[in-house]
């Protein structure tokens, strides 16, 4: 019981009471006098905010993945996964049920039957942060299953499926959490320090070495495997399919076409094609010397080019093939994503074997005080200087 007392929201609970009770009482009086201060539905926002914050804090304050100090302390103690976590459990326990029950009871006069929204929002926020913690520590399987199950929240049975699906998602997350806790202490790699700070430091050190050292660095990314490409492409297609039931098929068709074309461009941007890594010969040089196709360089465009062709092809296919258009659309989305994810070269392969040239970057040695290089801008953002 001692550990469970930390689960009571002693900070945001009183804030909820201070916000809600006077408003509710005042509203009651005003209604009696024939006026309305708040529409009762507006109370939903107050309770939803409480539920979301409490759900997030329920993970962030108790999961060792979110606290470096807690993690390091646990490592130094004789704690192991067979014992309960000293700060309190990450999984849901009866105290959570009591807290949510009390809050729902408190909200019932204002929200009536809509009171089911409170535990749903709480569970939604809780699961979101729990999955973040799971992914941070390499428990991606649970997250993938959750991503697959999540569209059932709104499809095909509408809002009525929300609560059972959330419970199912909780079951999956609980299974992954148990697995994760058993594997403690986790590989304390990049996340151990503040990940944002780590990223800044790492990027800073890359920018620290200038040209030509910086573009000659060996990237870590070795790409994703074929099976991972199938899974990721499949999950995105499944989400697109599910969302189309909310926003309507014509709209989703337009959005996904734009999104896929954008992804093709994004791939080129990530590979820094045409910027840091340019063709070995100029455009006119290629035209006049008949180097129209340079295998080692132009292969980087192939995935984006094929993805664009595939997207347009599947957009036009319903004209010739009398299949339900949603089937063709889903096949089109899946195949385009698969091309973009799985098609070589990987980033590392391109950087190390591409036939590009690395010109002196857009970063110039002589920069005026008004023209700031990306490096300078980056440094200022990192150091928080506004000058």
């Amino acid at each position: 019981m001692n550990r469970y007392r930390y689960l009571i929201p002693t900070f945001i609970g009183p804030i909820l009471l201070i916000l809600y009770i006077p408003c509710y009482l005042l509203n009651g009086l005003l209604i009696r006098w024939g006026e309305e201060f708040f529409h009762p539905d507006y109370f939903i926002f107050i309770f939803c905010a409480f539920a979301a914050i409490h759900g997030a804090m329920r993970v962030c304050c108790f999961h060792p993945a979110f606290s470096k100090a807690y993690f390091n302390w646990l490592v130094l103690t004789p704690w192991d996964s067979s014992k309960p976590l000293p700060r309190g459990p990450v999984h849901l326990v009866w105290v959570d049920l009591v807290v949510l029950g009390l809050v729902s009871l408190l909200a019932y006069p204002a929200l009536s039957y809509k009171v089911w929204i409170i535990p749903s929002v709480f569970l939604g926020a809780y699961l979101l942060f729990l999955n973040i913690a799971l992914v941070m520590q390499g428990q991606g399987d649970g997250m993938l299953i959750s991503v697959f199950v999540a569209p059932f929240l709104w499809w095909p049975y509408g809002p009525w499926s929300i609560f059972p699906v959330l419970l199912m998602l909780y079951g999956i997350a609980y299974w992954a959490l148990c697995k994760q806790i058993k594997e403690f202490p986790w590989n304390t790699g990049w996340w151990k320090d503040n990940p944002v700070q780590q990223w800044k430091l790492q990027a800073g050190s890359l920018q620290q070495v200038g040209w030509p050292f910086y573009p000659m660095l060996i990237p870590d990314s070795t790409g994703i495997s074929l099976s991972q490409s199938v899974v990721v492409a499949g999950l995105i297609t499944w989400w697109v399919h599910s969302v189309s039931f909310i926003v309507g098929f014509p709209f989703i068709k337009f959005i996904t076409t734009m999104f896929l074309l954008f992804l093709g461009m994004l791939r080129l941007v990530l590979y820094e094609t045409g910027m840091t890594y340019r063709a070995p010969i100029s455009f006119w040089g290629r035209m006049f010397t008949i180097y129209w196709f340079i295998r080692g360089y132009d292969r980087v465009f192939l995935a984006s080019f094929l993805a664009a062709i595939n997207t347009i092809l599947f957009l036009l296919l319903p004209i010739w093939i009398q299949w339900p258009s949603w089937i063709l659309h889903d096949i089109g989305v899946f195949s385009t994503l698969f091309i973009l994810f799985a098609m070589p070269p990987t980033l590392q392969n391109w950087r190390l074997t591409g036939s590009y040239r690395i010109p002196p970057r857009w970063i110039r040695q002589k920069t005026s005080s008004t023209t700031k290089t990306p490096d300078q801008i980056f440094h200022r953002i990192c150091s928080g200087s506004s000058s």
């Binding site: 030509p212 000659m216 070995p280 074997t353 040239r357 290089t373």
Partner: protein
Amino acid sequence: MIRIVDVWHHYGIQPVLKDISLTIETGHVVAVMGPNGMGKSTLLALVGGILHPLKGHIEIDGQIRRSSVEAEKSIRRKLVYLPAEPYLPLDRTGRELITSVGRLYDVEDRSLIEHAERLLRLFNLGEKGDAPIRTYSTGQRKKIAICSALITRVPILVLDEPFSGGLDSAALLVLGRILKYLASRTDVTILMAVPVPELVESLADKIDVIDKGRITAFDSPENLRKQTGVGTLTEALERSIHPEIIRDVEEYLAGERP
């Protein structure tokens, strides 16, 4: 060993390098010389890996540049390329730059810090080493760029005009001595572009003369002198690189005389 095999390179329509083939043995120092705009820097950039030849290939210790991930990784670990005008991160200090570059080349931390200190002192950058590079003069920027190449301690150095760029006489002397020391080692290979014959005479095992994208001579300074039948390397290069210059100067001076 560096092997340049049948290399052609264009930036635009005109080829900059035409069918260049060259072998530089391990432990040798080779100076690339020739008139401006004739492909010296392009050749060094190709060996350095920031350019890729349109035809032919570059081989470093038997591994072809950019032929495979493993080969390229291995080459990048043992070769440093310093262009004539590198981009230096102006907001960083000189010490930060050279230690960062050292870390890229997996130099052990303690040795790196100690080596950085010695290099900064050697190039008279002791106090300036902790100031942002933007406050450096042109010569000091060149010095810190040279330090960044030397700190890597790799066996292959590709240096584009290391003696140019505003170095003072002390720095010229220091760099000359260091390169001479490296040249005396059998495990260090240096390929550099140097415009001044006097600077390379005592350093280079071989001189590669490039003119209009082709190699016109590749031999030891001694043999170059013998071939041209003159006393000094300067005169030998005058004849092989700039045969028209003596005539042009004579013509000009004739016009100046009253």
